[in-house]
Subunit: 197 residues, 2 copies
């Protein structure tokens, strides 16, 4: 491990900040109304501590996001089917998209905060690169598909946090229905046989 041991008060504070931020983003309506000062005071910590630990607001969001994302990443990299690597692409692509969608559904506020307030476009984020790369590699193995780079982007775009938020919050689309619609859409894009209702 290259990680230098840190003082335990520092580690404790880092955890406190993560927990507090998590709670605040979950509680609040719009991520914009959670200020860094709020997070600091909720964690019982000074702003200096917060910024030293995470660099800036985007850093805090990223750290939270990555922590939440870890289980899914594990399941994708070395888990059981249909997410794991042993699954044929035709089934794994929809499974991956479904996992991403469910993640966004379960972490609406957080994903929203990261995508909108995160410095620059979400396309520069490391985890996006990973999802896109993986998805593209899977698409590449499906015969008859071209433009896998663009197709991967387009499929992932259907799971954008603000779209998900709009569908659930504004149009009141239930979770299961949305998952079915995305699966249907993916199936159609993959061009697998005649789609059924």
């Amino acid at each position: 491990m290259t990680e230098r041991k840190s003082r335990k008060d520092a580690a404790r504070n880092r955890e406190a900040v993560l927990a507090a931020a998590d709670a605040l983003f979950a509680r609040c309506e719009s991520p914009a109304e959670v200020t860094m000062a709020d997070v600091a005071s909720a964690a019982g910590v000074g702003k200096g501590t917060l910024f030293r630990a995470f660099g800036d607001r985007a850093g805090l969001l990223r750290a939270l996001y990555e922590a939440r994302l870890e289980p899914i990443r594990q399941a994708v990299e070395a888990g059981p089917p249909p997410l794991g690597p042993a699954t044929p692409p035709q089934d794994r692509v929809p499974a991956l998209l479904d996992a991403v969608l469910c993640f966004k559904l379960d972490n609406r506020r957080l994903a929203l905060a990261l995508e909108e307030s995160g410095s620059g476009s979400p396309y520069q984020a490391e985890h996006y690169e990973q999802w896109h790369g993986l998805l593209q590699a899977m698409l590449e193995q499906i015969p008859g598909l071209t433009d896998t780079d663009f197709t991967a982007h387009a499929l992932l775009a259907a799971t954008r946090a603000d779209l998900v938020e709009h569908l659930t919050g504004g149009e009141r689309v239930p979770r299961e229905r949305m998952r079915a619609q995305l699966a249907n859409f993916a199936t159609r894009v993959l061009g697998l046989g005649p789609l059924q209702a």
Copy 2:
């Protein structure tokens, strides 16, 4: 006309502000680095004037966007094929998507500014509602398609400004290639016959 006559200095200033903002957003790298004060001074106008004319930053962006969008809207509502209403849906859907994509390509910075800095999600914007509604109505007329609401969202998501920006700016995808890829993607989603390279 319900529009009350305004004083001509007001009208002149409004135009000056629009022109200045247009130029600034086109010139600058990221829309975030164009401040309201910049726009005001570039237009030779005070901040008060600017805010009275447009309400807030989002209002200015919207006004600019709408002005740019007008020609396309016209072409869609009552123009020649393939954009006009006389075109069969199978051809009109790709045409519409292509038009939207070209618009985003031609107005990258502006669209980016509106989508990211525009108050709230871009899904609350009036023009998005219009595009989505129109697209959905067209999809509805294509036999064999279900989930037209979601499908319309997903197709439009493939033309999001930050994705377009990422593809052109980061991945250096040429304009024509991108248009072809989107057309291909749309075709596949519409489920029309076997797709060719």
